[in-house]
């Protein structure tokens, strides 16, 4: 038996997001009609992929938490797989890589089980120690520290960090009477993705001064500040419906998500630049790879989680 468990506020928020997508689709359609000289197929593809993401997540959130936890676990898997494909790995580490994948279902099992103590140390402590131990037992010392370091960085960002999104669903419902864990997750996802779009739009419109030209030449100070302020404004406006945050706290959450989203974004850019590639993959048409889509979340998810956890749980 599949139960629907959807608080009214989360339902309205999902409808609101669908509304935004309808507006975006119409906008792209009209733009395509007016400016026939320009090619908007990339934009259309991007919006179509957004539809798939929103419908999939909307459905998962509307069902019992286990569906959303499983879906987020699957996103971690796709992101980690992309990472493993991109980084240089040693052939000797074949078995180590295999075991590193086993960490993904385990980490999300701790989430589903709401076993906070294990969830918070499993990758930073156990995987951090055991995977290099397995490497040492194989006996290849050439490039050992690089292999152990790159592997752990990948697990920390794509699995440990991202799994904080799922743990929002495992938090006790009493902490957020207005919308529960679903509300917090939706709040975080909405704001990080909005932040990406807002920084892009502000940067495209007013961008003059580059922030980190060596890492990400298209990022500008204007885009960054405009994006963060937009995110903060929406964070304050939406917080009463989806979160237990006070007005001041929600302003803090908005700024935190804005800044950390930016840092996550440029960190993944730095990884790609280091490896000499543009997109992390082609899993999401119009967006590049999964890593390109969840880059901001890798920083924003754990920081937002602990912000809320400290204040309200």
């Amino acid at each position: 038996m599949i139960d629907f468990d959807l608080s009214p506020n989360v339902g309205y928020a999902l409808l609101g997001i669908l509304g935004l997508l309808v507006v975006a689709s119409l906008f792209a359609l009209v733009l395509g009609r007016i400016r026939r000289d320009k090619d908007y197929s990339e934009l259309r593809l991007r919006i179509r992929t957004w539809w798939v993401i929103v419908l999939l997540f909307g459905a998962a959130i509307a069902l019992t938490p286990i569906f959303a936890i499983a879906l987020l676990g699957f996103v971690s898997f796709l992101a980690y797989k992309e990472y493993v494909t991109l980084i240089p790995t040693r052939r000797a580490d074949h078995r180590v890589l295999f075991w590193s994948y086993v960490a993904i279902p385990l980490q999300y099992y701790w989430v589903a089980d709401a076993w906070y103590g294990m969830f918070i140390i499993f990758i930073p402590v156990y995987c951090f120690l055991l995977l290099p131990a397995r490497m040492v037992l194989i006996g290849e010392t050439d490039g050992f520290i690089r292999a152990a370091g790159t592997l752990h960085w990948g697990l920390m960002t794509t699995v440990f960090s991202l799994s904080h999104t799922a743990y929002l669903l495992a938090l006790p419902a009493a902490g957020n009477p207005v919308a529960g864990g679903d509300g917090l997750l939706l709040y975080l996802l909405l704001l990080t993705q909005l932040n990406d779009v807002a920084q892009y739009v502000w940067g495209k419109t007013f961008g003059r001064h580059k922030v980190v030209p060596k890492v990400s030449p298209k990022k500008t100070v204007e885009g960054l500040i405009g994006g963060i302020l937009t995110t903060a404004a929406v964070a304050v406006a939406v917080a009463p419906f989806l979160t237990p945050l006070t007005r001041l706290e929600s302003l803090g959450a908005g700024l935190l998500i804005g800044v950390s989203g930016f840092l996550g974004d440029i960190s993944v850019s730095a990884v790609k630049r280091d490896l000499g590639i543009k997109d992390s993959g082609n899993t999401l048409p119009g967006h590049g790879g999964i890593l390109d889509r969840v880059d901001s979340l890798t920083f924003a998810a754990p920081l937002f989680f602990h912000f809320v956890y400290y204040l309200h749980y």
């Binding site: 898997f77 797989k81 493993v84 240089p88 790995t89 295999f98 994948y101 590639i277 993959g281």
Partner: protein, 216 residues
Amino acid sequence: MVWLLRLLFWILIARPLVLVVLGLNVRNPERLPLRGPAIVVANHNSHMDAFVLMSLFPLKRLAQLRPVAAADYFLKNPLLAWFTLEIVNMIPIERPGGGRKLKRDIDPLQECTEALERGEILVVFPEGTRGDTEALGKFKGGVARLKEQFPDAPVVPVYLQGLGRVLPKGEIAFVPRIVDVFVGAPVSWTGRRADFTAAMEQAVKDLAAQAPQRRW
């Protein structure tokens, strides 16, 4: 009944494994021959290679797809033989030095010839072995003999990158990675078998040169 098992195997196991657990990044998929008779030739590093190549085709072509593989390896026990012959729909081929007695009076390529006559699509690894991980071995001459008999059947070269690190020879641990697939233009008949084999090998090498260089 066996066609149903075969279909279920592809829908529930092989395709999800290749398309979701691994994930493919295919360049020039439109160059694949959708109709037989045709031959797809690729480099060989892993047992997953055949599943990846067969997943490139639409499901309705499944009945026409015939991977060609070593009889001495795949027919060595009854269960494996049943799986490869019935479910994977493989054409077994005798390798010299494979340890099995070769019948002198029968052409080892006879089943391949019959399949091409029926308009099927052969999937062949001309190296004849998975060999050393991620190294391209010397191509063998069977495909050239088939091409000589079927001049109109296109021979399409494919380069697979990454599978030697998904499930290399001698490993049982499966490591998911996104696999790069490069499809080349058909290799045209050169008039001589040896030249054709060399041209085929060169075509796969050229595709390999397009692939992103991996460090370490």
